[in-house]
């Protein structure tokens, strides 16, 4: 139960960092429940009150938590609280109470001002940026995807395993399914540091963080069969990349895409090994035939 209370408190803090909209909602519920002139008002008032009461009820949070990722997303429960309906509903009912239009207009302006004061404007918060492409991903993600696709087409080497910083690796498969991603699933740094220190190290470097043992990064990435590496220029791995056989296929200024044609996937490596063994066998058979012919 202690955990349930913690979930409620943390969710409340997350969803209502400023309590105004919660207060407005409570006021609207009280207004509707006191008024109760129509069945709609009763339903809206009772439903919203029930949802809100359940939210603050620890036994309910305790029961609901397993369904909401152990309470991590308990805030989603509040989506069924119809704030966007009950506030305008109460506002319009308030506005249309007086027969005098000027009073109604004044109430309307006051309510709108209250809503604006209590909330935070989405547009003023800088959530949206001007789109630079129809895909609406980062430009360098788009470029990386195209470079890899072109390289696959040119070389005919279909195996593509990309190591890239978090944002690029996160987005690139939205645009192109050609490359597999190396570091994609290792973005939980704390977990990573404890369980996979080498991978943590790699991801850190790939995110542009400085380190004094760059050679380990490139060596490990090659060992992990990454044939494409998106490397920030500031990471200081260029020499090692050249040393381990990588070549630049695109230079984006602050970052480069490196490619190593000799790095093969597991299947490709097996296939190559098999072919080599077959060739060797065939050669041996030829040699033995030639030897027999000589003897005879």
């Amino acid at each position: 139960m202690q955990k349930a209370i913690e979930i409620i408190i943390s969710t409340y803090k997350d969803v209502f960092p400023r309590p105004f909209y919660l207060l407005y909602t409570v006021a609207a519920i009280v207004f509707l429940l006191v008024r109760r002139k129509s069945s709609h008002e009763k339903l809206m008032g009772l439903y919203s009150a029930t949802i809100l009461l359940l939210f603050f009820l620890p036994p309910f949070a305790y029961l609901a938590a397993p369904f909401l990722r152990d309470g991590d997303v308990y805030w989603r429960y509040l989506w069924v609280l119809p704030i966007v309906v009950i506030l305008p509903y109460a506002a319009v009912l308030l506005i249309s109470r007086s027969p005098r239009r000027i009073i109604n207009a004044a109430v309307c302006v006051l309510l709108a001002a209250a809503l604006m004061f209590g909330g935070r404007n989405l547009y003023a918060a800088g959530v949206f940026h001007k789109a630079t492409s129809r895909e609406k991903v980062l430009d360098h993600t788009l470029v990386t995807a195209r470079v890899i696709e072109e390289n696959i087409e040119q070389t005919g080497h279909r195996y593509a395993y990309l190591a890239a910083p978090f944002q690029v690796s996160h987005e690139i498969r939205e645009v192109s399914s050609a490359p597999r991603i190396y570091s994609k699933r290792y973005f939980d740094f704390t977990y990573l540091k404890e369980n996979y220190p080498i991978r943590y190290y790699n991801v850190r470097v790939l995110n542009g963080l400085q380190t004094d043992e760059q050679h380990k990064t490139v060596r490990n990435l090659k060992k992990r069969r990454c044939n494409y590496i998106y490397m920030p220029t500031g990471a200081g791995c260029d020499e090692d990349l050249v040393k381990y056989g990588y070549e630049v296929i695109f230079d984006g200024g602050a970052w480069k895409i490196w490619y190593n044609p000799k790095v093969l996937g597991k299947k490709e490596a097996k296939e190559k090994k098999r072919k080599k063994a077959e060739q060797k066998k065939a050669l041996e058979a030829e040699q033995s035939k030639a030897l027999q012919a000589e003897k005879s």
Partner: protein, 350 residues
């Protein structure tokens, strides 16, 4: 060819949902707002039709092409049925449209203009979100490989089982299949489809559900409905006091299933119960409508399906208490079976 595809795509998003809704909605079901209801219900119907074929195709490891074929056949059957009904009853969709447009009041026009402005913002501006790979990357992978959840869309790893590594919820709520199918049919890529082409329509859809709610709450008073919509828009825009609010999701990442559940399906279920409480009874057609809404929510997000089912349950209990009718509560229960099945799939694979 490209122009034809663009025209068909726009028709599919605008005209087709009202047409297909004729299969179940009678004429003038919702007064002047019938056409708005048709649009919203039609979208839910399209989602609901996709749900079970998608789940079955994923579990049996079928291809995307097969899913598209099954979905197309089901939609075709429904369309033929709807057209047959229109012919029989002589419904004029354009008449309903004219009725809606001719009675527009100033607040409605103001609210619509604000909604359209925001729709334009979603088309021309961008917001990058970390959750996208669940939807878009899986759709891209499905489209390119003609498979369904055989690869982890986020990293491209081949999955030896039908669902592993955190993708289990996608089996229960395979919304990405919708994007993959639409991309395939209309010859576009999932990334621009999700981020540029669809968000304006989804935004209008979410606000259409709020318009419907206003129309129902004020019992057909269009001036008050418009005023309600203006305030609803204001509340939505100023709901960015937290990134976790339903309106924030609805406004900035509407292409994601959970955002559509929060901004569209949850208000539609509320609308349905407001209608029921006005009518004072629940008929079979209402149960069907509720089932369609709930099944649509199942496609969109597994957790959302649970939320919608919970919402419907609470609303049915309250409505039954207000009307003193047990029947209303009992009739709701069959509709809850679908989200419960989804919940079981979701819980089993998590």
């Amino acid at each position: 060819m490209q122009i034809v595809r663009v025209v068909l795509f726009i028709l599919f998003l605008t005209i087709y949902p009202p047409v297909i809704s004729c299969a179940f909605l009678p004429p003038r079901k919702n007064g002047a707002y019938t056409i708005v209801l048709r649009w919203c219900f039609g979208w839910c119907l399209i989602y609901a039709v996709l749900y079970w074929p998608a789940v079955i195709c994923i579990l049996t490891r079928r291809s995307l092409n097969l899913l598209i074929a099954v979905w197309g056949i089901l939609l075709l059957v429904l369309t033929v049925y709807a057209l047959w009904k229109i012919r029989r009853r002589g419904i004029g969709l354009f008449g309903e449209m004219r009725e809606y447009l001719s009675g527009l009041t100033f607040p409605e026009i103001a609210a619509s203009a604000a909604v359209l402005a925001h729709a334009a913002v979603t088309a021309f501006m961008m917001h990058i979100d970390g959750d996208d790979y669940t939807y878009v990357a899986n759709a891209t992978t499905s489209l390119d490989t003609n498979t369904l959840l055989r690869y982890n869309g986020g990293i491209g790893k081949y999955l030896s089982k039908y669902a592993t590594e955190g993708l289990n919820r996608l089996v229960a709520a395979p919304h990405f299949t919708y994007y993959a199918a639409v991309s395939k049919v209309f010859g576009t890529r999932p990334a621009p489809l999700c981020h540029t082409y669809l968000p304006p329509f989804f935004t209008c859809l979410c606000f259409a559900s709020l318009f419907l709610l206003g129309y129902e709450l004020f019992r057909g008073d269009r001036r008050k409905t418009g005023l309600f919509a203006v305030f609803a828009f204001l509340v939505s825009i100023f709901s960015y006091y937290s990134v976790y609010t339903a309106q924030t999701f609805m406004l900035i990442r509407v292409w994601q299933g959970k955002a559509q559940v929060a901004g569209f399906v949850i208000p539609m279920i509320l609308w349905l119960f407001l209608v029921l409480i006005r009518k004072g009874s629940m008929e079979k057609a209402d149960v069907l409508m509720l089932a369609v809404f709930l099944e649509a929510s199942c496609l969109l997000t597994a957790m959302g399906a649970l939320l919608c089912a919970g919402e419907a349950l609470v609303l049915s209990v309250i409505a039954a208490l207000i009307l003193k009718q047990k029947k209303l509560f009992l009739y709701t229960l069959p509709a809850l079976l679908l989200p419960l099945a989804t919940a079981l799939i979701y819980l089993k694979y998590n």
